[in-house]
Amino acid sequence: MTIAHDDMRTETSAPEVTTMSMAAALNRALADAIESDPDVVVFGEDVGALGGVFRITDGLTARFGEERCFDTPLAESGIVGTAVGMAMNGMRPVVELQFDAFALPAFEQVVSHVAKLGNRTRGGMRMPLVIRIPFGGGIGGVEHHCDSSEAYYAHTPGLTVVSPSTPQDAYSLLRAAIESPDPVVFLEPKKLYWSKGEVDTSITAEIGTARIAREGTDVTLLAYGASVPLALEAAEVAASEGRSVQVVDVRSLSPFDDVTVTAAVKSTGRAVVIAEAPGYASVASEIQARVFERCFEFLEAPVRRVTGFDVPYAPPKLEHWYQPDVDRVLDAIDTLHWDEEA
């Protein structure tokens, strides 16, 4: 992560350091982006007068007008497909798809065009668009409202996929995503929308980089999105049990920051990957496989993963049985061939 002042940005809106929720940080990022770049438009279902079902676009239409933030007909392929057309014509659309499962109707547009149009035209047309999706569970949502579909996007060449775990990253990564010349799928962990933290609007984030969220020497936890606070909590408990746990916030699901992650795991010799999505053929499997391959000689034990089960997401009353929790993480850490004598 590079920390730098962006001169453009300060022209339109004075940088500030404030404590705010992730939702507020995202809202602020959208507002600042709209303000600083006339090509940015925000649209989707219910993002106008309502301000989005999670209120991330709250006040944007009132402040910037229907021209810059507007509701569309209820059709996700339509939303993404018209965003592709706008990007072809020089705009920077930022679209909201209401929940992971409701992004699926747009999947063809995402895979066959968003991801490929730049390549198809040999760079003649770029796709500087952002697809925002409130993602993951942990909010007691009914079926179709709690899925984690990062694997679908991360597997698709041409797409950049990021997910913040702090309000600061929410702000900085969303600004970076909107400024990126390439298409970004921006996954917002629903569970963290109301978590608070300090946000300095002058900090910029570099997409493609992981962040060391906690230093530690015995084992490395690799996590992203809502699994980062879980990893930090597990690290805290493990610390009380005498283990020094490092936590890496992967942040950029694709491309992947091998440099940071490999160095981290080599330094501890042990690793657990944590993610809420079903584990099979997932981003967690990718991270596990990469770490295994790149750190093989340094590993004291197999890399483990703690993920959601390979079953459909649980109904609200059972979701605590589905979601990875501190105990599962600690159990996984326990299997890492600790020499109890040492």
């Binding site: 007909p73 109707p105 079953v311 059972l318």
Partner: protein
């Protein structure tokens, strides 16, 4: 059929006006008093179910409830026009129609309570699971009807969706498949003017949603969705036509979502109270009560009987929903596939271990809450 016969009327079919007066119509007859009385009872029960569910949400017993308050004429009409061998394909907003079809209210609420993704015996009631991903169920309805036709069964399928859902690609594909394969499906759109916060004007520029029908080669009709008599007549005709091999059709009901989208929504952000207020006068119960009372078919005693019946349903709902269901976390694995794979068995085993630990912990001491 002449092409233009597929076009809907310029105004919605109405058989009873807002003041309860019968409106003569040359195409559709007013249902008989007995039918209307049955419908009225349905409306009373439907309204009570909506209100009770709203209360249960406020008490934290339901996770969420998309109310059909104001749309009960559509809900009851959709249930009444179907025969025993017919099928209903409802959405999240159609709980009242589902219950009117015989499903226990508590079973209909399993999804909204958060216990499971659907809670009733779909085959026993011939009601598909309530669909959440918009318009997707319309295709299921078409395929279901195709299968029935394939086997020569006497099944008409009634597929429900909202105005917003008509914008989805699946709506288009469902209408088209139904028309091309000429299957016995009736598409019933409850146009309640909103898709969460988005008004109809942002959903379509068409003269009406029913005008879409001709583009598929099927008839479209518009009906006053707050007039249960008209809903019964128009839907009833569409169902009969489908049953008689006349193919699919589209019926658009003009109604209004009187409450917020769900309890999680705040409709003051996007619509004026005055607009909502205007629709109070068009309430489907009000006008039918006036009509039946004036026709001498409804008196205080019957009213009381209906109210008591509705209260009974509400009481049962409360009782059922105030009881915590005995949920088995192993259900997460039990139904994923019928064939059991070692891969899932392995994960299931992990969960079993955690359940055991949790049971032990609970049995041991109330103070150690964790599973570890």
């Amino acid at each position: 059929m002449q092409h233009t016969d597929m076009l809907p009327r310029d105004t919605a079919v109405r058989l009873i006006d807002e003041h309860g007066a019968a409106v003569a119509d040359e195409q559709y007859a007013l249902p008989d008093a007995e039918t209307l009385l049955r419908a009225y009872r349905g409306l009373v029960e439907g309204r009570r179910i909506n209100d009770q569910a709203g209360a249960l949400v406020r008490q934290g017993r339901l996770a969420v409830y998309p109310s059909s308050h104001g749309q009960e004429a559509c809900q009851v009409g959709a249930s009444m026009v179907l025969g025993d061998s017919d099928w209903l394909f409802p959405t999240y907003r159609d709980s009242v129609a589902v219950i009117a079809r015989g499903v226990e209210p508590a079973d209909a609420m399993v999804l909204l309570k958060g216990d499971w993704h659907s809670g009733y015996d779909v085959r026993a009631h011939r009601v598909a699971p309530q669909a959440t991903p918009l318009a997707t169920q319309l295709l299921h309805a078409v395929g279901f009807a195709q299968a029935a036709k394939h086997r020569g069964e006497d099944t008409v399928v009634l597929a429900l969706c909202g105005d917003g859902a008509t914008s989805e690609g699946d709506f288009h594909e469902a209408m088209n498949f139904a028309a091309v394969f000429h299957v016995p499906v009736v598409f019933f759109v409850q146009n309640n003017e909103f898709a969460i916060s988005v008004p109809l004007s942002r959903q379509t520029a068409a003269p009406s949603l029913a005008h879409k029908a001709i583009g598929y080669g099927m008839p479209g009709q518009r009906v006053d969705g707050n007039d249960v008599a008209a809903v019964l007549a128009v839907l009833g005709e569409a169902v009969s036509r489908a049953r008689d091999g006349g193919g699919p059709s589209l019926v658009e009901a003009h109604t209004y979502r009187m409450q917020a989208h769900t309890n999680a929504d705040d409709d003051t952000r996007y619509r004026e109270r005055a607009e909502v207020q205007e629709w109070v006068a068009r309430d489907p119960l009000l006008r039918l009560r006036t009509h039946l009372t004036e026709a001498g078919a409804l008196d205080a005693e019957v009213e009381e009987r209906f109210a008591a019946g509705a209260e009974e349903i509400a009481t049962a709902m409360r009782a059922a929903l105030n009881t915590d269901a005995d949920l088995d976390p192993e259900d997460l694995f039990r139904f994923v596939t019928e064939t059991r794979s070692p891969q899932l068995e392995e994960q299931w085993q992990l969960l079993r271990g955690e359940i055991e630990r949790s049971n032990l912990a609970e049995a041991g001491s109330a103070s150690t809450g964790g599973q570890r």
